[in-house]
Amino acid sequence: MRGQPSLCDVLTPQSLQEALSLRVAHPEARPLAGGTDLMVPFAAGRLPDRLFLNLWGLEELRGITVSDGEVTCGALTLFREIAVHPLMQREFPNLVRSAKVTGALAIQSRGSLGGNIANGSPAADTPPSLLVYGSELQLTSLRGSRWVPYADFHTGYKRSLLAPDELITLIRLARLGDGGFHYFRKVGTRQAQAISKVSLAAWARTGNGQIQELRIALGSVAPMPIRARGAEKALLGRSVTNPPLDAALEALQADISPIDDLRSSAQFRRKVAGNLLADMLRGLVSA
């Protein structure tokens, strides 16, 4: 069955305050940002929602703000805005790369960071980068605002800490300074437009020949985007030139829980996740 616009209604608030009030008055209304995710199941008749909360016009949710210690993105910051932002390119290259491989230009011109997070797909392209940069989310309701580590946000497949009256309003990234190592690689069926089979992002800092700081995150290998904490632990404090690859690979296999689905198999995903980790470590040695 095709989607049925004639059965659906849309609430279009003029301010964030009004949006939050509507969130309370109509908890059944599905928040709608750029539509690049939701319009696909909607048009195919696979979305049960009949009422939508249109956030697209809310200027309060737009824009990238840079201060000394951090960068703050409104939830409606578009992939395209991230991709062309000079400071983002310099300091958060993983996020820029993941924004650039989200769909193609027309998707990047419409899809938003907040939407990507709220949609909760384990295959979303930006979450692994957001995880390795230790980002935090501001969740806002009429009750007030709270900041939560993004690493805690997803609690299961398409489940999250977001309360029914809340909206994601800001995404905050602490600036890491220079000298770090950044790695992002997405494996999909083709370069553009593909949904990932596996993606891996990493950020590291080395010194005295050791891996002093390391964060690794993956997409499409668990019910949600995850940090690979076991693999991180196996590598932290160890030699950059001769890291314990086998131990790290073994720990990684315990960190992930991929499934067979229409895009790939669990077996392929386990193999490729290990290959990406090894590729990352090769990059770290030569960085």
Partner: protein, 157 residues
């Protein structure tokens, strides 16, 4: 129970247009069925193929993924708006280089290509291919399309 339609007002190819539509109607259907502009094609209907590419407030978008309500008050350009009295340089280049075969992807290719040219995003062949990567063509193998885009950029037809 059917919901209320909304009066949608847009500037389409330079002309003020109105339609009474359901707010979650796809902009693609509004363009084709309400405005009668059938140059914009539906391919996949899920943002993969680019056949429905249009320029909305200066951004390249897939019209199949935009709910009508989000286009309220916008400025829209479709393939019908690319030519003036004469074909645009990009359209001429498509003719000259054989950039169209079955023709189904061509409106989307022309709209995306026009957007890339206008935003100076066709510095070289790699950039041209990256820019068009959201537009699928099953006939040409892309070479002639990319040739046409690069020729138009250099002011050749």
């Amino acid at each position: 129970m059917a919901t209320q339609k909304i009066p949608l007002e847009l500037t389409v190819n330079g002309e003020a247009r109105q339609a009474l539509v359901h707010p979650m109607a796809r902009l693609l259907d509004v363009i084709r069925e309400d405005f009668g502009l059938t140059g914009t094609k539906e391919g996949c209907g899920e943002g993969e193929c680019g056949a429905c590419s249009v320029i909305l407030d200066g951004s390249l978008v897939n019209a199949c993924l935009v709910p009508a309500v989000q286009a309220q008050g916008s400025t829209l350009r479709t393939v019908e708006g690319l030519a003036g009295v004469d074909l645009s340089p990009l359209q001429e280049a498509f003719l000259h280089h054989g950039g169209a075969q079955c023709g189904f992807c061509t409106p989307g290719m022309l709209v995306a290509g026009t957007h890339l040219l206008e935003t100076d995003a066709v510095q070289d062949e790699a950039k041209a291919r990256e820019g068009l990567s959201g537009n699928l063509c099953r006939c040409t193998g892309y070479v002639k399309i990319v040739d046409a885009l690069l020729a138009a950029r250099e002011g050749r037809s």
